[in-house]
Symmetry: C2
């Protein structure tokens, strides 16, 4: 018989909760606002309600599921089930989320980093099926990562392995990421950074159709659109974006020597625009054996990857 | 009863071969010149002779040892036992070293990267005992690395994991490393690079006592000596060296989230000069949870670390 599990993808703006079977099929899910500004207790109540709602709508009792998996923003400790101090969950300082939820739900409960959970999801049900050594990278407002090593999710000493977004690709680079590491990959290649670079150029007087968009409304997709219509600045920004991602991939290959690198997150929707440029940098710079053994592919699972990964934590 | 194993540390200039017991004690070892310039067949004969010599001097027959482990310069393939094309072994292109030696020695034979072997040695018998998630870095003429993950040597998809020396810490950095990746850690922080930076300053007319040394004889230890006598340029070079190593450590922490990082190789003999400066950079830049869980220590095993690691491959 198939196992059923509950997954909770806890994000800064929404909570995506649902019931999944052991083949990765979502039987039911519900998205509710996180309401992070109302503090941890309120958010935890929202999580509880969404779990109860998911069980009710699938007519399941708690003892009919194999457990609850939670993907949450880091830093956190997967072993102790403690959410430490995620920047986008204000007031969350060392919240013993697993213990708190265990008081309500008598089942196995596991917690992990959202990017780690997504890596597991792609490994089990997406673009990484059958690949024992793979790295998942999500490129969106930020950059996160998760590594599967020997077929297992690699957590590291305290669940903070594969913090790929916060390794420095230029020790003299910009310090605008709150991780504290100048020139980290996220500060070059995230969607947020793409917009920051655009704004810097525009402020310096560079001509571009992006000037027609109010600066506080400028988004990464506007830059991709402008590039498609031939805007020179936008084209240059996309060129740089692909280059920085390529540099990140080269470093991932040097560290992990994976068989596959899977790119997900919002910016992966621009795969056709980015892929060739990105791989040119990889070809130019990566160690030959590391490059030849590894393919770089787009993530397969869509917006529910976080939920699927969270649920997969208890499979 | 203790197992006995044979180890071969194949380097560009010498081969260190010996017999070790399962507690990491070397019972006998012999160092012979590699004579790499005479080509693969000659080097392989030197390896064979050194193995026969080791067995003879310990009065062992081949069936009395559990196997032969070989640590060799990469790139190589540990699974297939093939040495691919190491820059410091001219003429070695896809040499099936394990198969060739098996024709002579009827025992288990294993091959791995020399830095991986050294990582295993430090894990089993040195500064990494009891630490399941650790990274070993050797800083010498080059920079190599090896990762122990979940208590096991992590090889990656084709035995080229933890190529830490060739991850870029500045995508715009110097291109003087033959790995092809501009600004790789090795091109900033190896002993060779330390000397290169010194020469660049001297050529630009910078005043320093290092000018008294003929340029083609200048070595890393001269720079450390000059710094100890208060030479300003040398002090600045050491400061930079420690900074670059710190940046490398920060990135290792972000990727692997290890419990311990162990630094070996020639430059680790300058531990007291480098440590505080290096750790200042780590404190300034590394993610807090990754930094707090991890200590950075000096390697314990000395010049025979390669031999011990090679032998340990068959334990």
């Amino acid at each position: 018989m198939k196992k059923l599990v509950c997954g909770v993808d806890l994000g800064g703006t929404k909570i995506n909760t649902g019931i999944m079977d052991s083949d990765g099929n979502i039987l039911y899910n519900v998205k509710v606002p996180t309401e992070a500004d109302k503090g941890p207790q309120h958010v935890i109540n929202n999580i509880k309600k969404s779990i109860i709602d998911s069980l009710k709508n699938t007519k399941l009792e708690i003892d009919q599921i194999a457990g609850i998996g939670i993907g949450a923003p880091g830093p956190l400790n997967a072993d102790s089930g403690v959410v430490e101090c995620p920047p986008n969950l204000p007031g969350w300082i060392d919240i013993h989320l697993v213990d708190i939820l265990k008081q309500e739900f008598n089942t196995e409960i596991k917690l992990n980093n959202d990017a780690n959970a997504a890596a597991l999801a792609e490994h089990l049900f997406g673009a990484g099926q059958g690949i024992d050594d793979m790295v998942y990278v999500t490129v969106s407002t930020g950059i996160g990562g998760g590594a599967i090593i020997g077929g297992k999710l690699y957590n590291g000493a305290n669940s903070n392995a594969a913090e790929i977004g916060h390794h420095s690709i230029n020790f003299d680079g910009p310090r605008w990421c709150n991780c504290g590491n100048p020139g980290c990959l996220e500060s070059y290649a995230s969607g947020t950074s793409l917009v920051k670079f655009a704004k810097k150029y525009i402020e310096s007087g560079r001509d571009t159709i992006l000037k027609n968009i109010p600066m506080d409304e400028l988004k990464a997709e506007n830059i991709f659109d402008a590039a498609k219509s031939g805007d020179e600045l936008a084209l240059k920004l996309i060129e740089n974006e692909a280059f920085y991602l390529g540099v990140g991939i080269v470093n991932i290959m040097a560290f992990y020597n994976p068989k596959r690198i899977i790119i997900g997150g919002g910016l992966s929707s621009q795969w056709d625009v980015l892929y060739d440029k990105m791989m040119k940098t990889v070809k130019d710079r990566a160690l030959k054996p590391n490059r030849e053994i590894c393919d770089v592919v787009k993530a397969k699972l869509g917006g529910d990857v976080g939920l699927i990964g969270a649920a997969a934590l208890v499979l």
